[in-house]
């Protein structure tokens, strides 16, 4: 690579403090790699790279301005036309040479023979929640080849101007800053099983449990809610499976075909549909991993994970859990004496009634 790479960084070089420049997703993956948690390698494209794209393509900026100027968010026909126009302009705009060169070098370092990668948007740290809300979360799986990667990166940026995103910003009107985001490019795991875990039970708020949802194939099914996943509750303390519900997992996402790009959705064969897609040993490993991730970030995390063909667990993404139920009985703010509680148990004492 010639000169200092300005727009990209290997994921394992990132830390939380880079969230402003590279977006929350890339920064969190860097943190995980720094903590020696198994994460597929890859690289991050900075928020600045998007700004560089706009700078190098005044016509793109003009096209965006034209499309959203005076737009009525309630007019869905006009909104769709604006989204199409911006998408077209975005795909037509050439990447600045230095950005493209950096991406090609980084992509080549991921592996030989056009390795499949996942390309996802990485919203700026403080925008993360808003981005989730506004649907600015593009994920392109099983992307192969340098041109395809560059196109996928532009698709991610285009998601800044998805219909919900435009409508959201129009409603929030106050924000004058132009939107921007980073992109994460990560080696793709050919997952046999994938899913999501929470480092607590989000339903009851129990912090001693890891809640795991899992289904066959790539993770889209679980995240997108297309499949009713297997549902497990695993004790963090002993790693026993405390509860399991095996569901009918009727579809799975798999790579489109040998050497090709993209994914397809197919029916799961009858033999696997109603069979648990994880065994106790794998669940135990996930629980151990969940604990390490929680400890590293010092708070509850929502983690996407996948099992590769060797059944090795890999973490694809981790972000803070924002909505956790509190246990029905809130923790006392002052210690209550054991004797007072025992008295209350028997219907006596000052705390009893």
């Amino acid at each position: 690579m010639t000169g200092t790479p300005a727009h990209t960084r290997a994921l394992d070089e990132l830390r939380s403090s880079d969230a402003d420049r590279f977006g929350g997703k890339s920064a969190a993956l860097g943190e995980l790699l720094g903590a020696e948690i198994p994460v597929p390698g890859g690289f991050a494209i900075s928020v600045g790279a998007f700004e560089a794209l706009l700078e190098a393509n005044p016509s793109l900026v003009a096209a965006i301005d034209r499309a959203i100027d005076g737009l009525e968010p309630g007019d869905s026909g006009a909104l769709d036309r604006a989204v199409d126009a911006i998408g077209e302009a975005m795909r037509a705009a050439p990447l600045p040479d230095d950005v493209r060169a950096e991406i090609l070098t980084r992509y080549a370092a991921v592996g030989d023979d056009d390795p499949p990668v996942a390309v996802r948007s990485s919203a700026r740290g403080e925008d993360g929640e808003e981005a989730t809300f506004a649907g600015q979360q593009e994920t392109l799986l099983w992307v192969r080849g340098a041109d395809a990667v560059c196109a996928a990166v532009r698709d991610c940026w285009a998601s800044l101007y998805s219909a919900p995103a435009i409508a959201y910003r129009a409603r929030m009107a106050a924000d004058d800053d132009a939107p921007a985001m980073g992109v994460t490019v990560q080696r793709m795991v050919d997952a046999t099983v994938s899913g999501v875990l929470f480092t607590c039970n989000p339903i009851t708020g129990d912090p001693s449990m890891v809640a795991v949802n899992a289904s066959w194939g790539l993770g889209l099914g679980v995240v997108g809610g297309e499949v009713t996943p297997d549902d497990f509750l695993v004790s963090k303390i002993t790693r026993e499976v405390v509860r399991r519900t095996i569901n009918d997992k009727h579809v799975e996402h798999v790579p489109a075909g040998a050497g090709g790009s993209g994914t397809i959705t197919r029916e799961v064969d009858a033999a696997r549909r109603k069979v648990a897609c994880l065994d106790d040993a794998q669940l135990s490993e996930l629980a151990a991993l969940a604990r390490r991730i929680e400890r590293h970030f010092g708070g509850h995390q929502d983690v996407e994970w996948a099992l590769d063909a060797d059944a090795t667990v890999l973490v694809l993404q981790s972000r803070p859990v924002t909505a956790v139920a509190k246990p029905a009985a809130a923790a006392p703010s002052e210690p209550v004496s054991a004797m007072a509680m025992v008295m209350s148990q028997f219907g006596a004492g000052t705390t009893g009634s």
Binding site: N201, T204, G205, D206, P207, S208, M209, L233, S235, K236, I237, T238, E240, V241, V242, R243, R244, P327, A328, A329, A331, P332, S333, E334, P335, V336, S337, A338, M339, M341, V342, M343, S344, Q345, F346, G347, A348, G349, G352
Partner: protein
């Protein structure tokens, strides 16, 4: 056959129909012999006297029982008037507070009282009625024989009452402290498995495990001294003893066994509530089966010692890990409650050895001496038939025997009692074939009595499971409370009584109404345990966790649904038992 007050009867019918009565098959799995009602009245008098009249637990009085076709149904009495509860709270706080604050010293005194009572029941003399009184009566201060006999009978019954008095002095408070800890854990950690709560509290070196520890030591001794060849699967204790007696080393081993019998052979063969559950002294089948198992395990190179250090480490690790997940204030309360629970728990675990095993075996053997006396005088065909008479009827028979002995007249007893005893034995045999419904009466909205939930595992959800199972008798899947984790498959061994213990084979799954902790030694043979009734704090559950063996308790109808030989899968995590096939022949 049973006292009038034990039956459902017209004058209180309306009230009885409005209450929920559930079959206490944990304590009374088979029809009650008439004499054994002493082991219902004693405990329910004592539990109520402490809970209701002494500690005055604000909402809870005592437990009523009724006998239906020989089976015991129970139902708790509650206080609902707030003013009354407030009045009772005044008593409870002072009195229970005193016990909790002075637990260790009070428990120390308690053991002294139990030792004295055991000495008394063991030494108590049952005088015979001689043709002529001794010179000591004529010239000394010895009292007349029949007075001493009647007094001895009264004293025997009073000793049992005193034992039950001691039995329940601490039990309720112990369970209450534990329940408080358990509830607190669940308030902070809603999904915590019950077994983890129990594991954090359970004692490490409790009496119930010491007897088996001695047997493990003796199994090692047998191998070291080369007499292990005597311990052959299928041999009776007598056959093993006879084999051992033929060699010097064998006789030395028998002496070593003799040396541990007091106190460890006072372990019971059942749970002490029926006359036929003796101690290991009366029937050494269990300790010998255990010795055979331990010797075989050692030959196979398996570790047989309880990993006490590991159990202790794990118990402390669980407590540390769970408290580290709580806010500081909650963690402090958690620590205090755990400390209190660990203080009270030795009593909860150990009282059974002193009371239910040791005392009860001595008590029923004392009653047998009265039975032998009645048989010698023709009032019974066999001394053992005394258990077919109620304790009041035995008193009546002893009165008549005293009278006819004194007068030299002809007693009616020899014509009166033997046919009654014979008829009742037949009746009990027939009642044993009937499977009683788990509950009678009106289903409550909630089950609020912690004893009912903890000890019997009876919750509204469990009652509904039972009701469903009753509708669907072909069910291949049973649900109960997950009491000890793990998933295994194996052949079922259904046991309706303790008599079947020696039939249990290596690798089988034990299916029973309720297991007794005294069966612990045979747990080294089985792969899992399934019971009709029992909560996660029942002793069976504790023993299964100790042995790291899956257990599902409180299934309601396992013994009625499962047949010996069927292949089962027991899931101790979800609490399900699945019948996989109908046996090797199918």
């Amino acid at each position: 056959m049973y006292p009038y007050y034990t039956l459902y009867a017209e004058p209180r019918r309306e009230l009885d129909e409005q209450r929920l009565w559930f079959w206490n098959s944990q304590h009374f799995p088979v029809p009650m012999p008439a004499f054994d009602v002493v082991a219902i009245d004693g405990p329910y008098q004592a539990v109520g006297a402490w809970q209701n009249r002494t500690f005055a637990v604000p909402p809870a009085m005592g437990i009523d029982y009724r006998i239906v076709n020989g089976y015991v149904y129970i139902s708790a009495n509650y206080v609902t008037d707030p003013a009354k509860m407030a009045e009772r709270a005044g008593f409870f706080e002072k009195r229970a507070g005193h016990y909790f604050s002075n637990w260790d010293s009070l428990y120390g005194e308690w053991r002294g009282k139990m030792e004295a009572l055991l000495a008394e029941i063991t030494a108590l003399e049952v005088p015979d009625l001689p043709e002529y009184e001794s010179d000591d009566v004529a010239f000394g201060d010895q009292r007349i024989s029949h007075v001493r006999l009647l007094e001895a009978y009264d004293r025997t019954l009073r000793c049992a009452d005193e034992m039950w008095e001691h039995h329940f002095e601490f039990l309720l408070l112990g369970y209450g402290a534990y329940a408080t800890f358990s509830d607190f854990c669940k308030s902070q950690l809603p999904d915590i498995p019950d077994q983890h709560v129990a594991q954090m509290v359970a004692g490490i070196d409790v009496i119930l495990f010491r007897a088996d520890a001695e047997l493990r030591r003796l199994a090692r001794l047998a191998i070291e001294t080369g007499v292990d060849g005597a311990f052959v699967e299928g041999r009776t204790p007598d056959e093993i003893d006879a084999d051992l007696a033929t060699s010097e080393a064998g006789r030395a081993w028998l002496e070593a066994l003799e040396a541990i019998k007091d106190p460890w052979f006072n372990m019971g063969t059942g749970d002490g509530l029926y006359h036929y559950y003796g101690s290991w002294y009366d029937d050494p089948t269990i300790p010998y089966a255990s010795l055979i198992g331990h010797v075989a395990a050692l030959h196979a190179g398996r570790e047989i010692d309880r990993p006490t250090e590991e159990i202790e480490r794990e118990r402390d690790r669980l407590a540390d890990e769970y408290s580290s997940l709580m806010e500081p204030a909650a963690a402090q309360t958690f620590r205090e409650l755990l400390g209190l629970s660990r203080t009270v728990f030795p009593y909860v675990e150990e009282h059974k050895f002193w009371c239910d095993y040791w005392f009860q075996a001595r008590f029923f053997n004392k009653v047998r001496e009265f039975g032998a006396l009645l048989a010698r005088h023709g009032f019974l065909e066999d001394g053992e038939d005394i258990f077919q008479l109620s304790r009041h009827e035995v008193g009546t028979a002893l009165d008549e025997l005293s009278l006819s002995w004194a007068t030299g007249g002809v007693p009616l007893g020899p014509a009166h009692w033997p046919p009654i005893a014979a008829r009742r034995k037949e009746l009990l045999a027939r009642l044993a074939d009937w499977t009683p419904p788990p509950a009678l009466g009106t289903m409550p909205e909630t089950v609020s009595d912690p004893m009912t939930v903890m000890l019997w595992g009876v919750t509204p959800a469990r009652l509904q499971e039972w009701a469903r199972a009753a509708d669907d008798v072909d069910s291949r899947e049973l649900r109960g409370a997950p009491a000890s984790p793990g998933v295994v498959e194996g052949r079922a061994r259904v046991m309706s009584g303790v008599g079947d213990l020696s039939q249990v084979r290596e690798g089988e799954i034990l299916v029973c109404t309720i297991t007794s902790p005294a069966w612990a030694p045979i747990f080294s043979k089985i792969r899992a345990a399934v019971t009709d009734i029992g909560g996660v704090m029942s002793h069976a559950a504790i023993v299964c966790r100790e042995y790291g063996m899956p257990a599902v308790v409180g299934t309601g109808r396992a013994t009625a649904t499962i047949k010996t030989g069927q292949l089962l899968r027991v899931d101790g995590v979800t609490g399900t038992v699945t019948i996989l096939d109908d046996g090797p022949q199918s």
